[in-house]
């Protein structure tokens, strides 16, 4: 009897988040219908779903989503390679760290979005500008986390490795860098978050006709196709969630020891 109740309780607890979403959509639908709100201000979920289905069926959504994803991964890959490389170099050389520190301190607090006008002057409104703006933004959290991971590596592990006969170079590659991996992954997750934001923002500002979810949003907004705006937002939200979950899953596969009980 008691077991049965806790079983039901568990199911209820697990389905609660889903129920809130279903409830929210239901209330939204009812409100729009009861009050007769114009779709141009707030379309009903059911009509958003119809638009979403049409955009999926005619391939519009797949095209724009594909374009945006390609830009996100290009920007992220650039930022990841450059950020990890510089972070590791800073960890290995005091001179590099001292020089890079000044640049990072000066440039990190600058809102990267404010570079958009300059980048459009230099690079035009094509692919290069969208990838560069997202890569530059993602670069900072990645380089900072990588360097912090190297600097905060466990002194005890370094001493133990030295005691077991590791050379300074072996300590760097076999101990310090692996020990920094959790911090590097945390930086990559932050970097991915800002890459998504910056790519979509750049697509909205560029005023270019080169597609992408940001472009789709701004175009639908300008002609007041509010259903399309909502449909695009739904796709963007799902895309972001899937990317972040995939990244967490990859991190767990690549570094299964992270989050296990510590040895200390």
């Amino acid at each position: 009897m008691k077991n049965g109740r806790t079983g039901i309780g568990r199911i209820a607890a697990a389905s609660l988040p889903v129920l809130t979403i279903v409830g929210f959509i239901a209330i939204w639908e009812l409100m729009v219908r009861a009050r007769g709100i114009a779709p141009i201000y707030l379309p009903a979920p059911s009509s958003i779903a119809v638009y979403l289905w049409r955009m999926v069926a005619d391939g519009t959504m797949a095209y724009h989503l594909g374009v945006t994803l390609a830009r996100i991964f290009a920007g992220f890959a650039l930022a990841a390679v450059a950020g990890i490389a510089l972070g590791l170099l800073m960890g290995m050389s005091r001179t590099i760290a001292r020089v890079a520190d000044v640049w990072i301190a000066a440039l990190y607090p600058l809102p990267k979005i404010s570079l958009i006008p300059l980048l459009i002057i230099w690079l035009g409104t094509g692919e290069a500008y969208k990838i560069v703006i997202s890569a530059v933004t993602a670069f900072f959290p990645i380089v900072i986390s990588t360097y912090a991971g190297i600097r905060q590596s466990d002194r005890g592990l370094v001493k133990a490795a030295k005691d077991l006969g590791a050379s300074p170079q072996q300590i760097q590659f076999k101990v310090v860098i692996p020990a920094a991996i959790p911090s590097i992954f945390a930086g990559l997750q932050l970097g991915m978050g800002v890459t998504i934001i910056l790519v979509v923002a750049a697509e909205m500002i560029g005023g270019s006709s080169q597609g992408g979810m940001g472009y789709l949003l701004i175009m639908a907004g300008q002609v007041m196709e509010t259903e399309k705006v909502f449909a695009s937002l739904v796709v963007l939200a799902v895309m972001g969630a899937v990317i972040i979950k995939l990244q967490q899953w990859t991190d767990r596969k690549l570094a299964p020891w992270v989050g296990l009980r510590d040895d200390h």
Binding site: G156, G165, A166, Q170, W257, L260, D262, D263
Partner: protein
């Protein structure tokens, strides 16, 4: 290998005009080859610092350490003939058990097949067969302790430095590990320097107990433990054991009180 410690001091901090904290104050002792020495003292008496200096891991502020061959008197560099088992183990959390144990051989450039063979044998000898591919974080405290021991033993160095290795274990696991260590010592007869703050443990394991004072750490007295080997846990109940315990307890009690007053004073000042 004999470990000859002469007038070794260690001062922490204290640059410029500020007086540093004296952790060790002119400590002298000859740790004899193939003997098991326990270093006993209140917390903060510098006993961990002492064996880290012997292992060449921490520098001394003064005095000398000699690693001496008792046969020909030849001297060896610090650290080359010793290996440390750490209080907090310091296992590499991203390396599997076998890669932790084989770490020293890998650094030495031993080929994978050869080092794995050796590591597998050691893992089996500490009772961890079947756990070669587990990560340290997947093991219990006692099992991780065995990994740390195997990782040190694979180095085949004649001096084993142990810094309160069993302090974090529960009482039952601690007993099992003490017996395991006694068995290993009976088989290998390494020169062991074992830091502890448990009197019973020091008597059960050691051929001698080096009792240290509260900070600044000095050697207060050296007590020979002439209980027969192989040692067994039931010796703890014997009359000889009890007499040694009383004697060491009386030596250490004053020092523990002193250490507690020091800590209270520091807490008040901070």
């Amino acid at each position: 290998m004999d470990v000859v410690v002469e007038n070794v001091s260690r001062v922490f901090g204290g640059q410029g005009r500020a007086a540093g904290v004296v952790a060790l104050d002119r400590v002298s002792h000859r740790f004899r080859s193939r003997r098991f020495a326990c270093i006993l003292g209140p917390s903060g008496c510098g006993k961990s610092t002492l064996i880290q200096i012997v292992g060449g891991i921490e520098p001394a502020s003064g005095g000398t350490i000699r690693i001496e061959d008792p046969q020909d008197g030849a001297r060896h560099p610090l650290g080359a003939h010793s290996v440390m088992v750490w209080q907090n183990l310091n296992l590499f959390p991203w390396r599997s058990v076998i890669d932790n144990v084989a770490f020293g051989l890998e650094m030495r450039g031993v080929a994978r097949a050869a080092r794995y063979d050796r590591a597998r044998a050691l893992i089996a000898s500490v009772g961890l067969r079947g756990f070669e591919n587990h990560l340290p974080g997947q093991l219990s405290g006692g099992m991780r302790q065995r990994v740390a021991l195997a990782r040190a033993l694979i180095m085949e160095r004649p001096i084993l430095l142990m810094d309160e290795p069993f302090a974090a274990l529960d009482a039952q696991t601690k007993i099992v590990m003490q017996e395991e260590l006694l068995r290993i010592f009976d088989r290998t007869h390494k020169t062991v320097l074992f830091v502890t703050h448990a009197i019973e443990e020091a008597i059960l394991l050691g051929d001698e107990v080096v009792v240290m004072t509260a900070r600044p750490g000095q050697v207060k007295e050296v007590i020979a433990v002439d209980l027969p080997r192989p040692r067994a846990l039931d010796m703890v109940g014997s009359r000889d054991f009890g007499a040694l315990f009383d004697r060491i307890f009386r030596l250490i009690r004053d020092e523990v009180m002193k250490a507690m007053q020091q800590q209270a004073a520091m807490a008040g000042a901070g």
